[in-house]
Symmetry: C2
Subunit: 320 residues, 2 copies
C-alpha cells in the first residue's frame, strides 16, 4: 500500500458525492483534513459540468492547504457503481441522469491524478477501519442509517465487493418474507423498518398512543425526534428504541452470516445511538449463537460528518 | 499454493467427518479419488480413539492406492471449530464430548503430515469451486441442505471465515423476525423453513390437504418424498416447490449481502433440486435489484456424495 511507503507528508484529494451536496477535501496520510469545501451537486446538470466545478474546487483547496503535487483522488458516491471501471452505473434516485458517468476518468482528465471510486457505505467502512470505531478490527460491518440503509463490510481486512461491486446491500436483506414490497423488489427489507421514513411513522404512532397531539407533519424530522428524545419525551425515546430493536433483528442475521467482531452504526440516524444501542445489543445478543457472541461489539460511529471525506481519502491512500 | 508448483503427481489424504460416519480418501491433485473408505464415527468414544482408527485407515488407503510420502491432510468437520487452531471447539450436537478436541494435532502426530481443518460447509464450497458448479467463479455461495442448513461463502476467490471462523451460518439468518425460536437463539431462521424436518412436516400437511392418507411416520423420509415426487405425486412435488420458494426468499437477501455470481444448492435435499430450482429462481429474481441479477446463476451441485472428500482434499492441496 502506497500509504505505508514511509511518506508521512503524503496528501490526497477526497470527494464525498451526495445527491444534494458534494463535499471535497484535502486530507493528509495521517487523517487530518487540511482544507475542505462543499457545493450543491445539482444533479439535473450533467456529470461533466459537475466535474468542472469539483476539479476547480479541489485545485483551490490544494492551494489553500499549500500542498503541491497531489497525485491521488478518492471518491465516495451513491451506488450502484462499478469500482473496477470507475463508473456510476445506475445511481438512482440520487443522481438521475448520471447513469454510466465515468466519474474517475472525468476527474483524472481534469486533475492529472488517478482517481478511485467506491460506494458511500464502503467508504464509510474504510473510514471506520482507519480512524473510527474499527481501528485494528479486521472483520467489521458498518451500517449507514439515513433515508436508506447502506452498509460496508470489511472481511479479513478487505472490503467485500462481490461479483459486480454490489455486495453489502444489507439494507435490502429481509426480516419478514411476507412484509411490504420494497423498491429493490424484496419484501420486508430492514430498510423499511429502520429508515428515517419508518422513524417518523413510528413516532407519529407513539405520539398518538400517548394521547399527545401531533406536530405539523413537516416539523416531524428525525432530528426533531432526536431532540425530543434528549428532552426526555417517552414517545421519542421509545421510537428510537423500537428502531434499535428492529436493527438488532437484522444484525443478528448479519452476525451469523459474517461473524464480525464489530458492527458500527453510522450515518444521520446513528446520531441518536444513545437511544438505540442498548435495545439493539439486547436483541442481537438474545438471537445469536454463543460462539458468535465472543468478542462481538456493537458501537456508534465516532466520526460524524467527516466520515465520508476521510473514507474517500483512505481509498486514495491505499490505492494499489 | 503448493498445488500449483508443478507436482501433478501430488496426492493428499482427506477426511469428511460426520456425526454418524467418517469418510476417508486418498485424492490426487487433479481431483481423482484414488482410494476411499468409511467407518462409523461413534462419537461417544473419545477423539483419540477415533483418531487412531482414522490414521490407520488413511495409512491403509495410501498402501491400497500405492502412494508413498503423502504429506498433507485436509479435514471437513461439523462446526463450530477453529480453523486457525485446528480444534473442534463446540461440535454439538453432532459430536458430543468432542468439545475442544485438537483434531489437527492428533492426526499430525499419528501421520507425520500437517493437517488443515475447516467446517463441512466451507469444505463443500471449496469442492464446488474446484471441481463443481463453481469452477472459474470467484464469488459464490454454497448452501448445504440437510438436517440443518450450512453454507460456505467464497468471496473474491477466498473462503470467508470471519472473526472467529464462524462466518457463513446462513441457515441461521432469519426470514421472519416474529418466527419460531431456533436452537441458535434467532427467530424464523431459514433452516426452520427448509430443513428435512420442515420438508417432512410440509409433506404431511400437503398429503392431508390432498385428502390422501398419511404413510406411517417413520416412512416419511426426505428420500421417500423425493421418490414420490419423481413418481409424479403432486403433494410431494409441491412440498419441494414450497421449500424452494422459502430458500429463494432467504437467497434474495444473501444475494443483496454478498452479490455472488453463483448460488449452489448442495447436500442431501439438493438431490431433489429438479423439483425446487425453478421455484427458487423465480422467487430470487422477483426479489432482487436489477444490478444483482446480472450474471447470477442458481444451480444444483453436480458433485454428489464425493463433495466432502474432494473439498477436504482441496483444503490440503491449497495449504499455504
Amino acid at each position: 500500500m502506497t500509504a505505508d511507503r514511509g511518506e508521512p507528508a503524503r496528501v490526497v484529494w477526497a470527494i464525498d458525492l451526495g445527491g444534494t451536496n458534494t463535499k471535497l477535501g484535502v486530507v493528509s496520510a495521517d487523517g487530518r483534513i487540511l482544507a475542505q469545501a462543499a457545493f450543491p451537486t445539482r444533479p439535473p446538470r450533467g456529470g461533466d459540468d459537475w466535474a468542472n466545478e469539483a476539479a476547480a474546487a479541489l485545485r483551490g483547496l490544494a492551494q489553500q492547504a499549500r500542498v503541491a503535487g497531489i497525485h491521488a483522488l478518492g471518491i465516495g458516491a451513491p451506488g450502484p457503481l462499478s469500482v473496477r471501471q470507475g463508473v456510476l452505473t445506475n445511481p438512482l434516485p440520487n443522481l438521475p441522469g448520471w447513469q454510466g458517468y465515468p466519474i474517475c476518468a472525468a476527474l483524472t482528465a481534469r486533475l492529472g491524478a488517478p482517481a478511485r471510486l467506491d460506494n458511500d457505505a464502503n467508504v464509510a467502512a474504510l473510514a471506520e477501519h482507519w480512524l473510527g470505531a474499527g481501528r485494528g478490527v479486521d472483520n467489521l460491518i458498518v451500517l449507514t442509517l439515513g433515508t436508506g440503509i447502506g452498509s460496508g463490510i470489511i472481511a479479513e481486512g478487505r472490503l467485500l465487493h462481490g461479483f459486480s461491486d454490489n455486495a453489502g446491500e444489507l439494507g435490502h436483506c429481509s426480516i419478514n418474507y411476507r412484509g411490504p414490497r420494497c423498491v429493490c423488489g424484496n419484501r420486508g427489507c430492514i430498510e423499511l423498518y429502520a429508515s428515517t421514513d419508518a422513524l417518523v411513522r413510528r413516532y407519529r404512532t407513539n405520539r398518538r398512543r400517548a394521547g399527545r397531539p401531533l406536530p405539523p407533519r413537516a416539523d416531524i424530522t428525525p432530528y426533531a425526534i432526536y431532540r425530543a428524545a434528549q428532552a426526555g419525551e417517552a414517545a421519542a425515546q421509545e421510537t428510537f428504541a423500537q428502531t434499535g430493536r428492529f436493527l438488532g433483528m437484522a444484525i443478528a442475521s448479519f452476525v451469523h452470516a459474517f461473524n464480525p467482531e464489530l458492527v458500527v452504526l453510522a450515518g444521520g440516524v446513528a446520531q441518536a445511538a444513545e437511544f438505540m444501542l442498548a435495545a439493539t445489543r439486547e436483541v442481537v445478543f438474545d438471537r445469536i449463537y454463543p460462539d458468535h457472541k465472543v468478542g462481538l461489539r456493537i458501537e456508534a460511529s465516532p466520526l460524524g460528518e467527516a466520515m465520508g471525506l476521510l473514507g474517500a481519502a483512505r481509498l486514495a491512500l491505499t490505492a494499489p
